[in-house]
């Protein structure tokens, strides 16, 4: 009964032209060909996709969630990056 661990793949699907591929889940498959076929059967039974990417899970480098405070702090403190930071006189109208 001991089956060797079958590699894990992350599946990304592009739902409509113009939208980016989006992560939808993962699956096990021996190689990339089988992973693509399994992804089609598991994640696109109702026409959810026009294009599929499969990526070996262990090829992904991820940020560490426990360090998210430090990681994203530079964006938190820079409110001047948002348009609402700037005052435009009312009489100028929509800008």
């Amino acid at each position: 009964m001991a089956t060797p661990n079958v590699p894990l793949w992350e599946v990304f699907i592009r739902s409509r032209n113009g939208l980016a591929h989006k992560h939808v889940g993962s699956l096990h498959a021996a190689d990339s060909t089988l992973a693509l076929q399994a992804a089609r059967d598991i994640y696109t039974r109702r026409g959810e996709g026009l294009s599929i990417w499969v990526v070996p899970s262990n090829a992904i480098t991820a940020s560490d969630p426990s360090e998210k405070g430090m990681m994203f702090e530079p964006a938190e403190s820079k409110i001047y990056r948002h348009p609402t930071f700037y005052d435009v006189p009312d009489e100028v109208g929509h800008m």
Binding site: P4, V6, L8, G25, H28, A30, D41
Partner: protein, 330 residues
Amino acid sequence: MYTQALNSSDGDDRGVEDVARASQFQARIDADERIEPNDWMPAAYRKTLTRQISQHAHSEIVGMLPEGNWITRAPSLRRKAALLAKVQDECGHGLYLYAAAETLGTSREELVDAMLSGKAKYSSIFNYPTLTWADIGTIGWLVDGAAIMNQIPLCRCSYGPYARAMIRVCKEESFHQRQGFEIMVTLCRGTAEQKAMAQNALDRWWWPVLMMFGPPDQASQHSDTSTKWKIKRFSNDELRQKFIDATVPQAEFLGLTIPDPGMKQNANGNWEHSPIDWDEFKQVLAGNGPCNRDRLAARRKAHEEGAWVREAAMAYAEKRRSRQLAQAAE
């Protein structure tokens, strides 16, 4: 990312509980934040979810068996195509759920082995036989109907991968219930014999379906912590009541009689059922239901007879990989 590859090294929270981290964790749950695979979580939360999600996955896979029984004998091509699509969906649901369970750090091989060895449970409902075509209608209408009642609140479960898997499952489950009810409508508008067949199926499935919601609230061993952790949002009895209240008018529409002569509507409009035979539930859970041995034997046979395919696929992938390496070295 929700991968076992990234979780496997994270062993520090498995045994030792850390009081400060546990209270931070509870604060996140109370604030309705989602817990993600690489976040710290109490060992008991991990264990509870691994048990629940993997049992749920096993139920989807074993649930293919009673319905698969009728694919070759469906009364028309339309019914056959729909039933085949439904059984494929159940397989897909099992796979989404195994993937969600794996993010907690147990491999699918281990989870499947626990089911095949009889150590892990699956829903007791699938240990009942499908004796007639009307059973397929009843399963879609009631078993999938009860599953939807259970699963909709799970879409807001505190564990992100489980909640996301449930959203996909619930979207697909609605087709299952409607195709079942359509079978029942057709039978009930058919000959007296067909209607009797529908009634007979309802008679056999009604009580086991009510048991699907689990033991009454006073007796349920997992409810308190699961509620605190927002894995569970409604109690067993609340969901059971909701299901009965939704189903009674549907049975009335079909002209079928729910096999509970003592059932009555109370002042709040809720239908009160007679006592449930929990001994039967315990017996089926303990392995003594009508089909427990059949179901496990069928899963083991499929697993063993598929072993050469899994091995061949892995051997082929390995051969191609080493050829590519050799070519690259030239």
